[in-house]
Symmetry: C2
Subunit: 401 residues, 2 copies
């Protein structure tokens, strides 16, 4: 029997994305890939995780294997509160909910806030997983360009005024943005918060990469949430970059009202996030292993980024520009006007290197002229080789004038 | 700032359930609880799990810690296909999707099929987590009474005809139903499938307890899906009863069209289910540990059920009737007409034993006259003591006439 005519209105709009389809082609052996925004899988803290699992107390074991409370395993909520306090974010269990990856937090926020035709303002370009979560509730996305130090605030204010009647929130990734690698200046963080207060909107702050800065002090990368005196900000964090994505542990910090509604929504979405992962994550934080791990991973990612930038600086034609991230996983390339990154993609894959073309990330920005490179999960050797390959293809298509 | 006026229309309807609120009171030390439908936490297969984790190959480790494909970890899909084939269910990766607990499968099915005002026919009483998932898409629930051998098929056919224009599916738990403990006869399974074909509706079959039968052959408890020649059935399974709920691994078997739509919905819901859990579950199936474990757990649950039934048979007043389950976790009590289980609940909690009152499970059935007892996670001693306590309170309120 054919079920297609039984689908809900929303489900009929779900389509396979071009990127996801492309990603399926990337299993080819020997292909160097800068495509997925995945952490380095050579360095997961396996010995620490094994040691935690082997030393679980009977009570921890029971909690790890059993159903848990919807808002999260209480010792994890406690450990997270302390961890967040060090980052200037004050929250107790009234404000904190554990989610099945930060992706679920995006889904829950969208679910409790968005009706069809509601407006979400996003950075242009922005993170596909977030935009898809908003679109899956039939929201309208309005893009605001990001400059080298954060969003174009004039354009943002215009968009806020224009859409004030249906605007639900502004979605931002202030640190080492996905896909652009751009980081907000402290000044822009303050101005954005002031604007939220002035025009009465919520900010959804997604901060998966905050630990992974390459230079300067942590305070430069402080969250909007840590400066938020009026509960304007819903803050999303994750263990995907500081422990392992395979555990699927994210979290949200929000006002009590919003946290409670997210919890009610989560009850029927998956009842609770993986208890096993939560018990491990709680111990990981409590034993101070997280701080140690991220310190070492900063160096790993910095080396990878530096290696990729070196090749780009040396071999990229002058017709192509690129961002110089201060942390995170991504470098964003801008090809000349009229370029088509998909052609470059196809030729690159034939030569043995893959990345993601820009179209999926962009609203008004010209995505077909953009390329996202993730340096996070390739070896230094592959980064050298793959980036050189990409540069040679780009030199062929867009020779320096 | 107050966020309440920003909530989506659907979110405004989310309310804390009475049961969930009651459950929060159950943390009291020393309280014997038959409330939560939770597996026995004295018997989780901890040594087997530890042994699997310690012997993961480097490739398995990388998969366990990394993001995984949205439809599931390929070796788990393979192992599940073999496992399901033994139960007469044929499926390949086109028909199978791993979910974050079966609760997520309920959510995804609801999301892709239900528009507001669409009708779902459910057993009356039925599983609260499923009904909440359907209600969270503003579906209308229509209840059909279950008799001792399955649904009242005459009433079911009437409901199907009456709601044919908006009926999306019929939701059933044919084995050891939650909350009633009732099991469908083979004949009723066949008739239900025929009815689905005749009246062109889908069946959502939830089968979390199928392994946990106490008597007879497995074939008596065969799934509707294993008899489904026309892709009428969406089948839901879980590792929560055969491994551990804390891993949050469920799955759905459906037509290719439905499975693909669920996968698209899942992308923005949580991207992928916990890889770590999936890698462990795949090994657990492949090593044949599941069959061994469920065989031993059948005895454990059978003993617990028998112990509870013994006390009920001996001490319950004749004014109260109860079901005698052939498997699973639950016994369902029917108090006399006009009874109020909440009063009994309060007195019982004061005396040190808790359960769940029936109202949340029921549509038209009189929930206030019903009690669900879960014998699954209490010790034999607590079952004896707690059930005797409950019986004494019931004898006081509803003495034999």
């Amino acid at each position: 029997m054919d079920s297609a005519d039984r689908f809900s209105e929303i489900a009929r709009s779900f389509q396979a994305s071009e990127i996801r389809e492309l990603m399926k082609l990337l299993g080819r052996p020997g292909l160097i890939t800068f495509a997925g925004g995945m952490p380095d899988e050579e360095h997961f803290p396996h010995p620490e995780i094994i040691s935690i699992i082997e030393s679980l107390t009977p009570a921890q074991r029971a909690a790890a294997y059993q159903y848990g409370p919807t808002p999260g395993y209480p010792p994890l909520l406690e450990a997270l509160s302390s961890y967040l306090l060090e980052k200037g974010i004050r929250c107790g269990s009234d404000n904190l909910i554990v989610t099945t990856g930060a992706q679920q937090a995006l889904h829950l926020v969208a679910r409790i806030l968005l009706d069809p035709q509601d407006v979400v303002i996003v950075e242009d370009p922005s993170f596909i997983g977030a935009m898809n979560a908003f679109l899956s509730f039939r929201a309208l996305l309005v893009g605001v360009p990001i400059l080298s130090d954060g969003p174009d605030l004039e354009r943002l204010e215009k968009a806020v005024k224009l859409h004030s009647s249906r605007l639900k929130f502004v979605y931002v990734i202030p640190n080492f943005q996905n896909p652009s690698g751009i980081t907000y200046s402290l000044e822009k963080r303050r101005l954005l918060l002031e604007m939220a207060e002035k025009h009465d909107f919520l900010i959804l702050e997604d901060d998966p990469y905050c630990e992974l800065f390459f230079e300067g002090e942590e305070t430069v990368y402080r969250s909007l949430k840590s400066m938020d005196d009026h509960e304007r900000v819903i803050y999303l964090g994750t263990f995907s970059k500081t422990l392992a994505p395979g555990f699927r542990i994210g979290y949200a910090v929000a006002s009590k009202t919003i946290k409670e509604k997210m919890e009610l929504a989560k009850q029927s979405v998956d009842a609770c996030s993986p208890s096993f992962s939560q018990v491990v994550a709680a111990e990981y934080l409590k034993r101070g292993l997280c701080a140690h791990y991220v310190a070492s991973m900063r160096r790993v990612y910095h080396d990878k980024c530096r290696t990729m930038l070196d090749v780009l600086e040396r071999e990229l034609p002058s017709t192509v520009s690129f961002t110089r991230p201060k942390g995170g996983f991504f470098i964003w390339l801008t090809l000349p006007t009229g370029a088509d990154a998909r052609t470059v993609f196809q030729e690159c894959v034939e030569h043995g290197v893959a990345f993601v073309t820009g179209a999926g990330f962009c609203i008004e920005a010209k995505g077909e002229e953009r390329i996202r490179l993730a340096f996070s999960n390739a070896s230094l050797m592959d980064i050298k080789k793959g980036t050189a390959l990409l540069c040679s293809v780009l030199r062929k298509y867009y020779p320096p004038r």
